[in-house]
Symmetry: C2
Subunit: 256 residues, 2 copies
Amino acid sequence: MKAMGCTLKGVVRYDGTGFAGWQIQPDARTVQGELEAALSRIASQPIRVQGAARTDAGVHALGQVFSFVWPGLFPERLRHALSKMLGPEMRVTELTEVPESFNARFSARGKRYAYSIDFNREPDPLSARHAWHVPYRTDLEVLSGLLPQLLGKHDFAGFQSTGNQSTTTIRTLYEVSLHRGGAVGPVDAENLWRLEFHGNAFLYHMVRNLVGSLVEVARGRFPRDFLLESLRVPGPFKGHCAPAHGLALLKVYYDD
Amino acid sequence: MKAMGCTLKGVVRYDGTGFAGWQIQPDARTVQGELEAALSRIASQPIRVQGAARTDAGVHALGQVFSFVWPGLFPERLRHALSKMLGPEMRVTELTEVPESFNARFSARGKRYAYSIDFNREPDPLSARHAWHVPYRTDLEVLSGLLPQLLGKHDFAGFQSTGNQSTTTIRTLYEVSLHRGGAVGPVDAENLWRLEFHGNAFLYHMVRNLVGSLVEVARGRFPRDFLLESLRVPGPFKGHCAPAHGLALLKVYYDD
């Protein structure tokens, strides 16, 4: 007889500063590791969780999603019990029962990321943990004008870092937009902007490599057609990978 | 012959988390201490700075003001040299020459503070350093309705903590308002609010004591007339002093 259990979907929010990323690793503090340790302790048996995105060390999440099988009926107070065990840097904001077929990673239909950039000449101390400081003169009109080139279905192989595990490098971007203010930042943010990317899926370092490339072009170090050419004839990524701490996973999309 | 010198006004922004407050102290890292050390090193002689507000340990500033006498003509690159020496948690955003009579503290005509509160049941990890977590059911309509009681000229002696050094406890509040979103926080902030206070001057812990009292009334622990009564018959403060890390000095006002 199959043991009774249920599949749960959680939404987790974290400040990535103090974590060695999402994925569990020996001798490192990771979000997955903390979640699994807390859940396993509550369940008194090992629980493995599947994350929608394996965010790198230093990357933040406003709405990361994870799933796991719980041995037994869904306990109403599980989210509350989890909260008591997790530190202040992470918080499970939602926990719901979902069909057995649900998998946070493989059921995902899309993701939205924000990449925050501090264009002040000197870094803003109130954005230091959440925005990439770019002190160079950068033409935001040029940057903004480049964004439509990325929209739609492309082979993004030219914007992945080595270490990608996907079989295909074709991805679709539904939206790429520039907004005032960081994903996390002060209310009087000056020269703080964020790029938002909504796509069906993302290659390894794809957002950070796209952001790095956009900035290189907008500050005049790369030719204007760098993005178009990299999409047309994908080669190894030759640009600058923007640092992890500017990146935040905003939302993961699923079929309702 | 009097040595040549000039008076300078600086605006400084800091994340207060890692500082033992503004005021210089032996064996503690303070904002004033860091500024004086850097300026003294650049000048090769001791420089003392005067701050507009002596923010407590953990309090942040988006626009603290300080002044000092510089021995010699105003060096254009002083702000830049300072930036190189100060850590990432503080930043001098403006530095200008002002009349000799200017004193950051005594010339101030008003100050604006923001106090950020996270009303989520469990604390938001992306606001943890910059907002007070109030998990109790708090009636924001009641809170908002109380604010006009504080406006205008009152004896705020009932809202000062012991240790106040002012001769008078009469202060004038020009504005007290409630806004969505923290002074520093995530773009998708939910249940995160800030109270802004603009007044001519503030007593020791006055903003934090007012905020603590407002929350006590709005969650039903203090009677509705607590603020009015404390203003009418000031006694020793009997409420809750809201924690330092929710407070941020937004701006200091001067005559132009």
